[in-house]
């Protein structure tokens, strides 16, 4: 402990506290996602899912520090990629190109952004649950984080990137996180192929309380994810908190209402799926739109996702835990929505008012370009990488192991051993 506060000129302690704690919240999202996902798989594949999430934390942290951060945030090379001057975090403490007025230590920014890269990678595991080899997944994620994610982060998040430069408004990663994870997940799921028995067999969640708890942690973390992206603790952060929360609310309600109409039942998995869809959709919008539009956005995203998750049955790709249906669909909806409702009143950083606020089609056009660029780039590159991997190594576990379960065959563990102290042995009053 030092007991003294260092003075770094422009560093604001409140902003720093805010971004640091928001970074911690985003870190927590990955264990939260692990619970969310692991609860949805069958009891024999639980640890496989946890493993994919925890190794994503590790692998992406390394690639980000070694090179990803530099690609994403060093000075630009034609708007397409950052240079390699901050590889290994060289010079990273000195400042962030394009952010001259940063009031937080550059390392706080670096680690906040690292947490984004981690969760985006971890999301992919949902699409290939219960069948992908750990080695293949790790290799994919390592390459993908450098080749796919980091450049896209440069485009949208670095003020010098070509999309940001054209005026793309992506507050916390509608393109970089949501569309990217969704499109990459689709590519990966296509290359890896469906789970044995899908879609004939019942593959019901094995532990919904775990999933529901995970959703709670995600919601909590998402407040930091979006509002931390203000990079300061002020009115924009407050607006982002409100918008984020309300979009989650809208998504929850949107999904539930429609689900009940269609199936006659309101399910808890539906409720939180809708909430997550709303949170996804508000990610690009949180600091740019007003309160009620955020609520509306959430509701729209909830309904769209409910429809989108059904597409896998029609088009026969086994996106096991609906990364495409939730993150791709939600990301597209949210990114476009900014073009409708972006408001200079909310955020002076908005270049053109949204279409419905009288700003014309300019911003919507830019947003559509961002959607397209992110989707095509992420899908095509991920497909390529996955396809290449499948050509050179086994991407799936042995079919027999898939039947027995990843936990015992791949990880030599069992998720549960509730023994005779659970259930049986407890009859009576």
């Amino acid at each position: 402990m030092t007991g003294e506060r260092e003075d770094m000129g422009t560093i604001d302690s409140g902003d720093t506290a805010w971004v640091l704690i928001c970074g911690a919240l985003v870190l927590l999202m990955t264990p939260g996602l692990a619970c969310f996902y692991a609860g949805m798989v069958r009891a024999k594949h639980v640890l496989g899912m946890f493993m994919n999430n925890y190794v994503a934390i590790a692998v992406v942290s390394v690639t980000w520090v070694v090179i990803g951060y530099s690609i994403a945030f060093d000075r630009t090379l034609g708007g397409l990629t950052g240079r390699l001057g901050m590889a290994g975090l060289r010079n990273a403490a000195g400042g962030v190109p394009g952010f001259p007025h940063l009031t937080i230590p550059p390392l706080a920014f670096m680690s906040f952004q690292l947490m984004f890269a981690i969760i985006t990678a971890a999301l992919l595991s949902g699409a290939v649950a219960d069948r992908m080899r750990l080695g293949a997944y790790v290799t994919f994620v390592a390459v993908w984080s450098v080749v796919v994610y980091a450049p896209l982060a440069h485009w949208s998040f670095s003020p010098e990137g070509w999309l940001a430069h054209r005026g793309l408004l992506d507050f916390a990663g509608g393109t970089v996180v949501e569309i990217c994870s969704g499109a990459s997940a689709l590519a990966l799921a296509l290359v890896v192929g469906p789970r044995r028995g899908w879609p004939r067999e019942l593959m019901a969640p094995h532990n919904l309380p775990l999933t529901l708890l995970g959703a709670g942690l995600l919601w909590f973390g998402w407040l930091g994810f979006n509002a931390g992206s203000a990079l300061s603790a002020g009115a924009i952060a407050a607006q982002a908190v409100v918008n984020t929360h309300l979009a989650g609310v809208g998504g929850l309600l949107g999904w539930l209402v429609v689900e009940r109409k269609i199936t006659g039942h309101a399910t808890t998995l539906g409720a939180i799926s809708g909430a997550v869809a709303g949170l996804v959709a508000v990610t690009p919008a949180a600091g740019f739109v007003d309160t009620l539009p955020a609520l509306l956005l959430g509701a729209v995203a909830g309904v769209v996702s409910l429809v989108a998750v059904r597409l896998k049955f029609r088009f026969r790709y086994d996106d096991s835990l609906d990364v495409v249906g939730v993150h791709f669909a939600g990301g597209v909806v949210g990114t476009l929505f900014v073009g409708l409702f972006a408001s200079r009143g909310v955020n002076p950083g908005v270049g053109h008012q949204g279409l419905l606020l009288g700003g014309g089609f300019t911003q919507l056009g830019i947003q559509a370009l961002g959607v397209l660029a992110a989707a095509v780039w992420s899908f095509a590159m991920s497909y390529l990488i996955a396809w290449f991997l499948r050509a050179v190594l086994a991407v799936r576990v042995d079919p027999g192991d898939e039947v027995v379960g990843l936990d015992s065959t791949q990880h030599a563990e069992a998720a549960y051993d509730l023994g005779s102290s659970s259930g049986v042995g407890r009859f009576g009053a």
């Binding site: 969640p205 269609i262 039942h265 399910t267 998995l269 799926s273 409910l306």
Partner: protein, 112 residues
């Protein structure tokens, strides 16, 4: 001696036990089971996809009884477990050659 096995709805256990106690039968062994028969299963919905669950939760009770208690025991169980709706379950009776009480090594009727 006979082994009476009953497959019943889970929530009748208390009533069945009471009925057996009334017949002076106190020893029994219970386990969980899933049953399939005429009773229809239910539907579950996960993210809009509907699944039919064909097997329903049941209790499986085993009681070893003396030959001339069989009828009383079976009637007691059936009486206590009956709701009259499809899915009440079955009781079957199997002959037993011998019984041992582990604690004492007693055999036959003494062991029950």
């Amino acid at each position: 001696m006979k082994l009476v096995t009953a497959v019943l709805r889970p929530h009748v256990l208390d009533d069945v036990r009471a009925a057996l106690v009334a017949e002076n039968i106190s020893g029994l062994t219970v386990g969980e089971a899933s049953g399939h028969g005429r009773q229809r299963g239910h539907t579950e919905v996960y993210r809009g996809a509907e699944y039919t669950i064909d097997f329903l939760p049941k209790l499986r009770i085993e009681i070893v009884v003396d030959d001339h208690d069989v009828a009383r025991v079976v009637d007691a169980i059936a009486g206590a477990a009956r709701t009259g709706k499809i899915g009440d379950g079955k009781i079957w009776v199997v002959p037993v050659d011998d019984v041992v009480r582990v604690r004492t090594g007693e055999r036959g009727l003494d062991a029950v």
